[in-house]
Symmetry: C2
Subunit: 206 residues, 2 copies
DNA sequence: CTTGACAGCTAATTCGAATTAGCCTATAAT
DNA sequence: ATTATAGGCTAATTCGAATTAGCTGTCAAG
């Protein structure tokens, strides 16, 4: 990784821990192993580093969205995958979603930045909601509709079902962001949640 | 309200919007209607204002905890209140919890501060978790145990039940903190959640 | 009345962090 | 071999925000 990217990377880490205003350019430089003025050979100023993070984030987001479109976002193409679904599969989907969000290197740091900056930046607020509320909701909701159509799942109000399925993931995700030590506890609880959810709404799997 | 309290109040508002580092003492002063140097007649420095907020917060928290102890935290004393419970009562409890957290003047601003500062201050992280995860959990869990004992509720795994009951409240709370416009939407969804929850776990109410 | 303390003000002062200036070295292209 | 460029450094410089100095008016207690 070249210096320019290492700056981005260290800055991302620091911003995600302390927020933009609490990070000094000298601090970023130190982590990278250079002196503060040398940063300016790579970025016009501190703000430009932050902007580059956002841009990188948008790039990755679009890639990810593209990937999702191929497999999962197109109801017509892969309905069969979800029509009949086992409890284990449900656990797998949910845990996968959780662990991806929690551990993805870039995503997890960026989420913390969004968390910190959400209240004084409308764009970040909107981004947060779309990434961690509305996005997962519409995705899960679609899955539940498919499952209900396949008959393996109750066709209850999908909004509520989705809320009940996803909210625990969200709560435990924010918990683990705050206290990473509690990941094991969270995973155990989460699995119990998925299984119970499957028992409640599931139709015919054993 | 005297100047000293108005400083606290305006500072609390500003800190909850932008975080400590992004707020200038001149800004606080301006909101109060005085000049920055005059602040120093009331507080030794900027940090002292912040500390006073924390202290005030602790004071209120203890009062609140005291209040809860009288009515709700003592399983023996008011078990009868919860043994038999209707679906409407469940909606009432849940919505009450939600709206209290969301709107309480002091609580809601302080929660935003915790949100912003949680990643670079262990104490805040712990406080956040105790206030918005572990606290509500143990409280709700106790209620569910009482209800199960009373026979009006399924005696499923109470950890999971509690998670499933509370997580949506939490998710929608953080959503409304971020986007207050969505309160109505959140309330509607929440009520549906409570009713469905009641239908799932409730025993004999109509 | 007068005095002292309270709460405000304007005008410094301090201080630290961001940024700029200007120099140096390595290296890759001509 | 020469030179231009990239990327690093140290030593200024700038600038803005926090804090301090020191003055002033008000008002309650004596």
């Amino acid at each position: 990784m070249d210096t320019k990217h290492r700056i981005l990377d260290e800055a991302l880490t620091l911003f995600s821990q302390k927020g933009y205003a609490n990070v000094y350019v000298g601090e970023i430089a130190e982590k990278v192993g250079i002196k503060a003025p040398s940063l300016y050979k790579h970025y016009r100023n501190k703000q430009a580093i932050f902007d580059a993070i956002i841009e990188e984030m948008n790039k990755r987001y679009e890639e990810q969205a593209g990937a999702l479109n191929i497999n999962g976002m197109n109801p017509a193409s892969d309905a069969s995958l979800y029509e009949n679904i086992s409890e284990d599969r449900l656990v797998e989907i949910g845990t996968g979603l959780f662990l991806y969000f929690l551990h993805d290197d870039y995503t997890s740091r960026f989420r913390k930045i969004l968390t910190i900056e959400q209240f004084h930046n409308k764009e970040f607020a909107a981004l947060y909601s779309s990434q961690y509320v509305d996005g997962p909701f519409s995705y899960q909701k679609m899955l539940f509709k498919l499952m209900a159509a396949g008959g393996s799942f109750a066709s209850a109000d999908t909004d509520v079902m989705t809320l009940q399925f996803y909210s625990p993931i969200y709560l435990l995700l924010t918990l683990c962001d705050r206290e990473p030590d509690r990941e094991a506890e969270a995973c155990k609880l989460l699995e119990k949640h998925f299984r119970q959810f499957g028992r409640i709404y599931g139709g015919r799997q054993k």
